[in-house]
Symmetry: C2
C-alpha cells in the first residue's frame, strides 16, 4: 500500500522539526517527491541536522505558514500536506497567547484557505495534541472525552482542529487530525524542559546530571516513540477511510513519570533522579493521569505502535550519544 507514495508530491510544513523531518525520511525512502517548508523560528524545533541525510533528495523552502504568497504555489503543487508547522510550547503560549494564535490558528486557516482556492482535493494531515483534553475525567481517554484546554496552546490546537473539520465538512477537503500524546525520540529538541520531556531527561542522563521530578512522579503519561508516530501519519496519508476523522495517537499504554525517568537512567547507565515539590504555577496545567484510548486508529488504519517504550528510549539514548552536539 505504501507504494502509493512513489512519486507522490508531498509537502511537509514544520519539516525541520522532529515529527516533520522523521516523516520526510520515511517518505524519501518510499520514493515520494518531498518539499519541506520551515519558518525556522527560534526557539522552535527546526534543526539543520534533522534533514542532513535527506537534504539532496528533498527541496527545502524557508516560509511561514502565515505567508500567503509563499505558501500558495507550494500548496498548489502538493498532493498531500503534512501540516505540522506550529508554535510548540504550552508554557510560552501562556505568556504570549497572541503569537500562539497567529501561528497555530491563523497560520492553519491560511493553508486551508489556500487549499480551498487552488487545490481543494489535496489531503491535509494535522497534528493536534492530547493537551486539548485538559483535566482528564477517566483513562484511557477516547476521542469523545470533553475538551477543556488548560493553555492557549491547547485551546488553539482545539480551535484549529475545528477549522480542519469545518473545511472538510463544507469544502470536502480530505483532512486527518491526530491528537498526539507525549512524543519523543531522535530529532527532538534537548535544549530545555518545556516540551519533549523524555528527550530532555535523555540529555541529562547522558550528561550524568540530576533529573528533577515534580512530586512523587506517580503521574501517568502516554509516551509515543517518533517512529510509531511517523508510521501512523504515513499510513493515514494514503488511507481514505481516515479522511475527516480525529484520532488519538499514542502508545495506548500508561507509564508513570518516575518509571519513564528510571528507564532512561537505567538504559543510559548514568544520571540520577531527585524529587522536588510541584511549583505553584504548574498546578493549573496539570491534567492528571493520561493514557490514550487508541482503539479508533487501530480499527480505521492498519497501525499499531510497534516499538516499545524501552526500545524507543534505547534508540533515543543511542541517537543522542552520537549526535548530541548537533542539538545543543
Amino acid at each position: 500500500m505504501l507504494e502509493q507514495y512513489k512519486n507522490k508530491r508531498v509537502l511537509i510544513t514544520g519539516g525541520m522539526g522532529m515529527i516533520g523531518s522523521s516523516i520526510a525520511h520515511r517518505l524519501v525512502e518510499l520514493g515520494a517527491e518531498v518539499r519541506i517548508v520551515d519558518a525556522r523560528i527560534k526557539p522552535y524545533g527546526a534543526n539543520d541536522f534533522n534533514i542532513k541525510d535527506v537534504k539532496e533528495k528533498i527541496n527545502l523552502y524557508q516560509a511561514d505558514i502565515r505567508d500567503k504568497e509563499k505558501m500558495t504555489p507550494l500548496v498548489e503543487w502538493s498532493e498531500i500536506i503534512f501540516n505540522l508547522a506550529g508554535q510548540v510550547s504550552h508554557n510560552d503560549s501562556i505568556k504570549n497567547p497572541f503569537l500562539d494564535t497567529e501561528i497555530n490558528y491563523i497560520g492553519h486557516l491560511n493553508v486551508l484557505e489556500i487549499a480551498k482556492k487552488v487545490n481543494p482535493l489535496i489531503k491535509i494531515l494535522y497534528s493536534g495534541t492530547r493537551m486539548q483534553y485538559g483535566k482528564v475525567e477517566k483513562i484511557p481517554v477516547a476521542e469523545d472525552h470533553p475538551q477543556r484546554p488548560l493553555s492557549p496552546y491547547a485551546l488553539n490546537k482545539s480551535a484549529a482542529e475545528n477549522l480542519y473539520l469545518f473545511y472538510h465538512r463544507i469544502y470536502r477537503i480530505p483532512v486527518v487530525i491526530f491528537r498526539i500524546t507525549n512524543p519523543y525520540g531522535p530529532r527532538g529538541q534537548v535544549k530545555h524542559h518545556k516540551y519533549c520531556i523524555v528527550n530532555w531527561f535523555t540529555r541529562l542522563a547522558i550528561e550524568n546530571k540530576g533529573i528533577t521530578i515534580f512530586g512523587d512522579g506517580s503521574q501517568v503519561r502516554d509516551y509515543l516513540f517518533i517512529d510509531n508516530l511517523t508510521d501512523a501519519f504515513v499510513k493515514a496519508g494514503i488511507e481514505p477511510a481516515a479522511d475527516g476523522e480525529v484520532f488519538n495517537l499514542g502508545s495506548g499504554e500508561g507509564t508513570t513519570f518516575k518509571e519513564m525517568a528510571k528507564t532512561i537512567v537505567d538504559i543510559a547507565g548514568s544520571g540520577s533522579i531527585t524529587h522536588v515539590p510541584w511549583p505553584d504555577h504548574y498546578i493549573n496545567v496539570e491534567t492528571g493521569d493520561f493514557v490514550a484510548d487508541i482503539s479508533k486508529i487501530k480499527k480505521i488504519i492498519d497501525w499499531k505502535p510497534e516499538i516499545s517504550l524501552k526500545e524507543g528510549i534505547r534508540r533515543t539514548v543511542e541517537f543522542y550519544r552520537k549526535y548530541m552536539k548537533f542539538y545543543l
Copy 2:
C-alpha cells in the same frame, strides 16, 4: 435585584449596534455609569441614532476591541463588560475568514488578556450564536448539542466561546456566554438581508414591497425580540450563578419562516410574499429547523421571554414606521 446596577461601571463594546445600544438604554434607566465602545466599522451595525436618547448620559469611545492601548484603560475602569463587538455577517465571513478571525477571535482574546492582567475580577458577558450548532440533529436544541459550524463566523464564535471558558477555568474571570437565536427588533439594521432577517422583511413590508422566501418557507426558526434578549443580559450581568455558564438565549418557540413573514405583512398591512427556489450556495449553510431549548437559562437566571413574536413584530413595525430614515 436590578438596583445593583446603580452607579455600576459598565462597558458595552459594540455599543452602537442593536444589542449593545438596547442594553445601554436599559442600564442608563437603572442608574449605571455606562461607557460605550464602538469601532464603527462599516457595514456592521453601529448607528448614531441607536444611542441618540442616551447620548448625554453615557460616554462614547471610538475604539476597536483589537486595540490594546485604547482598550486597556476602559477594561481597567469597568466592573462589567458586555462584550458585544463583532463582525456580524455569516456570509461575509465565508468571503473573508481572516477578518472574521481577527475581530471575532483575536479581538476577544485581546479583551480577555487585558482583563486578566489589569482587572481579573471583572465580569464579562459574551454573545455567541445558535449558528454554532450547525446542522441540527433534533429540536429543541439544548446546550450540549454537538457544534458543527457551517461558516467561519460560527466557527470563530465557537472558538471564542472556548476562549471565554478558558479564562474562566484558569484565571477565574466570571464570564457568561449566550448562544443567541435570531434576534430582531428596534435598532437593528434594515439595509440588507444578510442578518436580522425579520428587520429586513419589516422594511420591505413597510415599503409595500415583495418579500422573497426561499423554498416553501417551512423552515422553523426561533426569533428573539430584542427586549427579551436585553432582559436576559441585564439579569445575567448581576447573577453570580450564571458565571462560567453557557446559555441558549431564544424564545424557545419555533415559528416557520413563512409564518414570520406573514405576521409582518399582516401587522404592517402592506407588502407581499413570493416564493423562489433555494439558491445553490445557501444549501451548505442551511441548518435545518431550529428551536432553542431555553430551560437552562430559565432555571439559573430569573428570566423568561415576556414579549411574544406578534407583539415584538408590532413594536418593530411601529419603530421603523417612525424612524426608518435613520436606518437607510
